[in-house]
Symmetry: C2
Subunit: 384 residues, 2 copies
């Protein structure tokens, strides 16, 4: 039996998610918005019976068994941890910091019978599922290099907000880079152990963000990850990622894996391959023809991934009679909160590297840092 | 009046160059090969009256006024410096080290009336000429990012030789990266002041190179250059270059410059552009339809660039009555030996960075280093 759903957020993703949930048979009982007005507006638009601006009203809603959290990064941790604490299943967007991610992991570990899944949806895109399968089967031989590029228009909101602020989780690396980092660990079955990166904010002000306000989040980011294995000479796969969000009017989403006997390339939602010795690329998985809504802010790979994830959730819950029970099988590929912590750790290591100019190690937090130490660091950081 | 030409080298470039020279009206009087046999073979094939394996016989040949040096990097300096020393004009492939490049610069400075041009031919490709012109005219606004990728099959020769040896000037960075570094300084009118890079040799042995022999030259290279300007935060254009020569069956040569108001992309020999606000790319310069020979080892952009350079040389010499005199105008855009030293310095800084993992400064040599100090470094390097 499908669980009742409560949605946090009134942004573009929430707006897409609700119809997708309904199409799969989920009932969306409640929506939370930052203001009564925003919540009311979305509830009316999408036919949701209950709306509020108080988070507890959704979390404690008796018909809500699955909480979907699509709100700015700085607020996700608080809601996710609370939701798990009162026994609700959680689907959640990324947090703003590794410390927040760690708190989410702790909560998820404490309630292993609850579903806790990160909102990175690229893993669910059929092209990447097929890509991973072919990599496992040895299509490219021994993996050598992954090369990812995402180009598009500005990620900034129309008005000044968290998307402009690096410390609030804004910027290309945090917003889009996260999903790429997650995807690459999924595709290669390995994790980054050292990273190097360079972040830039080329557009610091625009027609809407001016005066004393400045954008601090990156609109260009470029990083390398050395995966798994040992030293930098002998080590495993080498990933390079280029993100450029100063390219209005275009959208490029390309993931290439080069190996000893061939290569696989996902362009947008399509998968191509070429084995060494063959003359040209072969189309391995064509575009399935997206029939859902078009969303300006959400590129097709993410949109289709989200759609596939909702389908997987439906299968997972359908398998059980009880509303809150779910089967692991259909969502086994989903990114866990542990994956979320890994991704956040890489993001922060890349940022450190951009400041230090050096390769930085990826060290996953194993205990919560002393909050006072943290405060010192934040103060020091603000000084620069 | 066109000068008589002597050619050093019997490889694929020399084999292409001779017909191109002849087509423009140059007479090729002499060819040098490492062995009598190789020289004789090429002379017969291309109808060159004189061949030899002794370099002085070409350099001192009375009908030779222009010496074209297309031989392995470790040998170029010696011939180029000697040729200038006896008053011949020189067109020369890159050297193996910055010290050699510096010696070439010293020779060229000593004989400023002689033509001394590096063999990097990408500058001469019409697409890049047009690209530079549009950049100067402000098509992209303020330049932000240059993104270059070159993908292709292995650069190794059939048999073991200098292409396998990093210290002999082999590898993607030295062979292809050099021309990209030169091109980017031409396009941006700036030079790299800091670089970061990563080199890899994924294929260390193959069917032909085995046993105790190993390839030490890179088949994958990835580097970033911060151009001109000041610090890394405020600094100028940011260049990223990806070279991958583990991709048999494909050839990608893409140079993209992204700026504040638009972007320009050269794919192969074609130039595309898109201004912010427009819906799609426009073709700015199409493929002119190459009618010359196809050369497996030489990608079309280099081949067409070489052809354009030979045309420019013809115009330069044609302007004067005297066989050895030439006009600066037609070859003003050509890379000088000073450019060659800059490129070699960047190449070495990228290699250093790949070892150290740190950003390395690009410091152009201003006096010849103590040879003993050099020896020590070489010994130390071998130890690792």
């Amino acid at each position: 039996m499908l669980p009742g759903v409560g949605v946090f957020g009134t942004g573009s993703t929430a707006r897409v998610l609700v119809p997708l949930l309904k199409a799969e048979g989920f009932e969306v009982h409640a929506v939370w918005g930052r203001s009564e007005e925003e919540a009311c507006c979305l509830a009316k638009e999408l036919g949701i019976p209950f709306h509020t601006s108080r988070s507890d009203d959704v979390l404690l809603h008796q018909d809500v068994d699955l909480v979907c959290i699509y709100i700015p990064p700085s607020m996700t941790r608080q809601i996710a941890v609370k939701a798990l604490g009162i026994g609700k299943n959680v689907l959640c967007e990324k947090a703003a910091t590794a410390v927040d991610s760690f708190k989410m992991v702790t909560a998820a570990r404490y309630y292993p019978q609850l579903l806790s899944v990160m909102g990175n949806t690229l893993r669910f895109l059929p092209a990447f599922g097929a890509m991973r399968q072919l990599l496992v089967e040895g299509y490219v031989g021994e993996m050598q290099v992954c090369d990812v590029r995402v180009y598009g228009p500005s990620l900034l909101d129309q008005s000044y907000g968290w998307t402009c602020e690096e410390l609030m989780g804004g910027g290309g690396l945090h917003t889009v880079g996260s999903s790429v980092i997650d995807l690459l660990s999924y595709l290669t079955s390995a994790r980054a152990h050292r990273v190097h990166g360079l972040l830039r904010t080329f557009v610091q002000q625009n027609g809407l963000i001016r005066g004393i306000r400045r954008v601090t989040s990156d609109d260009f980011c470029f990083f390398q990850m050395l995966m798994g294995g040992t030293g930098s000479r002998s080590g495993g796969v080498c990933c390079t990622v280029t993100l450029n969000f100063n390219m209005p009017g275009s959208f490029v989403h390309e993931v290439m894996v080069v190996g000893s006997t061939g290569r696989l390339i996902a362009r947008g939602t399509e998968l191509y391959g070429q084995r060494n010795g063959s003359k040209g690329e072969e189309l391995l998985l064509g575009d399935s023809g997206w029939v859902g809504p078009e969303v300006k802010e959400m590129p097709l790979p993410h949109l289709q991934g989200l759609s596939s994830m909702v389908k997987a959730l439906r299968q997972s819950f359908q398998a059980h009679e009880e509303r809150r029970s779910w089967a692991r099988g259909p969502v086994a590929m989903a990114p866990t909160f542990e994956d979320g912590l890994y991704v956040q750790t890489v993001v922060e290591a890349v940022k450190r590297s951009s400041c230090s100019g050096e390769w930085e190690c990826v060290e996953i937090m194993s205990e919560e840092p002393d909050p006072n130490h943290n405060l010192c660091e934040a103060l020091q950081r603000n000084k620069n």
